[in-house]
Subunit: 311 residues, 3 copies
């Protein structure tokens, strides 16, 4: 299997209930990540609607965001340094400008200021090693291509060309909103259309995005090999790295979401290995794999993974 | 922040899965409550449909209720005495007369008998300090004003004027039934209409209800200050205490429900402090804050809360 | 109460998230089962869609099933021997032929091969004591009668007449799919229609099915006595044993599913005792009753059950 060597940090969470950890728990979680072989942590988003991971004067002023009780960006950077990991900073997701209002320009404008603010505030931290463009799409939604291109370029410009990452999803039969009760949908993309769309998108964002990490949970397990092959081919064509975002939660169950069944995760990591993908990042370690997760299924998933890794 | 000094006891539960505790676990839970500073426990309802917290001959005979294996009212009263807490008794909720059938008269009639039965059975317990009118509404639903007035007056009449509590909710954008999968709704109340409604309701129930404790989870966090101010103003005008019902579960997540994110609870308690509310009761300690909750997120929430309290 | 002396093993699970146990955890779970008095374990299904509990060459070849990382049938058989339990093998559920396509013939055909394969592979294990026909229905759906008759007869023919078990559900008001968010439905069966249907079904499958274990969770608690009486009468009439499938998860809560409230399980087991049912099997021990379940509510349910058992 392709080993998991990166994880998202799901703060601010969009749909996964919070574990209410403090500094001590985050420190021990990074120690568990290290033990598993994780060398890269990616903050999924620095803010979502009015919730923030760091006291952003930009977002407090312009978006009416709440001042957070703890600066998680500073904490994660210091833990990344302590444990020798690379930290990627995830941009702000308004949860409205590009979602409801279709106003991608406004989403770009506020993020340009966030990028400047964050680089000024934390750019000198030695663990700051990249950027995550947190707007996740599956198709050419709205002006997403322009958003990726402009934000990616600005991230790279301010930071001496640190790498930028996106993690789109495939519009497969399991592409369901987490607050819908169903598990699958009838209308979904064909592999041909997927290739056509992403050929066009990658062409437009080449140079602004360095790493393409498709989420692996929206198509059926036996369909993954074909999608992985297309993604790898396209990434190579546009000079990007091709990672897999190996989801460690289970999309097939009515509780949305608990840790994935080990056999499913293994199947996906084997397929990723087979397709020659370069790195596996998981969404995400702390809820779904960590030995200290609130979900005990995660503790056993960690053990199953470690048994396999050591074989 | 306004400290949490009261909690509901969610027995019989309407939509929160049961923890299957026995006497020993309840005893240690009361010890944890005490440690957190809780001085008041409010039984959310003594019965719901056919489920009972105590062996009510009235409800077994008239409603076909099941005889419970354990008398929780007796247990909670004895633990309240042991730990020096005030116990409020929650009335019976038929789950049908006032819900489906709109027959508020029947809901009142059965509860008048319950009040008499309970006071005869447990009224001499020194911890019995108040009543909770368990029918929860957000607007002038049906004959709710008359129900509150008649039940509240009867509670006070039999018990030498012990205080009565209600805990309505605001018909905000997050007023969604727990068995609906969505998280928000488009049609919701304006603050002007909320004030108008409750001005009329409180006018009608003055003298029958002593404490008004609105649930704090149905409007957005930044809207709370305005609603708290209105609620406080109205309560003062009608000679009621104004508490906040600080919900400790998270309404923004697809799993309905797990413990709330600490930052959200803190924001709400800060706003309640700011508005001069008199006391915070939470729904509820045992699932969502207790160090022995089945949800480990609650254990960390307890620690975060205690850290803040001791600052 | 009628004691629980059998449990399903929910591998492959249809809608209950996986606990990610390895051999060690399964061994200790069987020890807990033994402690509770369980003498029979029933594999709910040996395969579901492409997921398998054992490396079935038939299903890998014909259904494109995934080769499993662990042979659970071999493991469960060896643990059954170790702990002196009877093991029943659950047939394959395609999740499509009889569901979507209404092609019962194909469901039968593939299962005839599975039966032969399994008996050849594991039939000499001393713990192999019966069969479970895993297609669960509530009415005369499609050609279910013919499916039960043909599969049951073949199971018995290859195995020197080992007993066969089915576990239908009552089409009651709580017969809701787990991926629907609601809890009840308006249209449901009458007890008269239930009796009429099952009289016809049992008449057709007599001789092929030995044990009838209706699921007990789809009607209201006070309706159970009447349904149990009908089921017992019909089973006796057609020379079948009548067990109850005592569901140990809670169907009345928005989280689908967590462990049932002890009082509810007790009520159901008391009613089963009253009706003279012969044995109680639960769905299922490992998630909802086990002291090592990922759901701590289960640990307390185990304690409550054991307290009652020892009285």
């Amino acid at each position: 299997m392709l080993p998991i060597t990166a994880t998202f940090l799901d703060e601010i969470s969009h749909d996964i209930p919070h574990q209410n950890w403090g500094k001590k728990e985050w420190d021990s979680d990074f120690a568990y990540m290290k033990q598993m072989g994780i060398d890269t942590v990616v903050l999924i988003r620095s803010g979502y609607k009015r919730w923030l991971t760091y006291p952003s004067e930009v977002l407090i002023k312009e978006e009416g965001a709440y001042r957070p009780p703890l600066d998680l960006v500073a904490l994660f950077l210091s833990l990344s340094e302590k444990y020798g990991m690379h930290f990627y900073f995830g941009l702000y997701d308004s949860g409205k400008y590009w979602w409801e209002q279709g106003d991608y320009q406004k989403e770009v404008d506020v993020n340009l200021k966030v990028i400047d603010e964050v680089w000024a505030k934390y750019g000198n931290a030695s663990a700051f090693k990249g950027w995550y463009l947190s707007q996740e799409v599956s198709r050419k939604t709205g002006d997403i291509m322009s958003l990726y291109a402009r934000l990616g370029k600005h991230c790279k410009a301010v930071s001496n060309n640190l790498p930028t990452l996106i993690s789109p999803y495939i519009d497969g039969k399991k592409a369901i909103l987490s607050n819908q009760s169903t598990l699958t949908k009838a209308e979904h993309i064909t592999i041909e259309q997927h290739e056509k769309d992403w050929n066009e998108i990658l062409d437009r964002i080449q140079g602004a995005v360095d790493i393409l990490a498709f989420q692996d949970g929206h198509v059926d397990y036996h369909e993954l090999a074909d999608y992985f092959a297309i993604n790898k081919k396209l990434a190579t064509q546009y000079n990007m790295q091709c990672w897999t975002n190996a989801e460690s939660f289970d999309r097939d169950m009515p509780i949305k979401f608990l840790p994935i069944k080990w056999e499913k995760l293994l199947l996906k990591l084997e397929a990723a290995k087979q397709a020659g993908l370069e790195k596996a990042i998981t969404f995400e370690f702390s809820h779904f794999i960590s030995p200290q997760s609130a979900y005990p299924q995660a503790h056993h998933l960690f053990n199953r993974y470690m048994e396999k890794l050591k074989k």
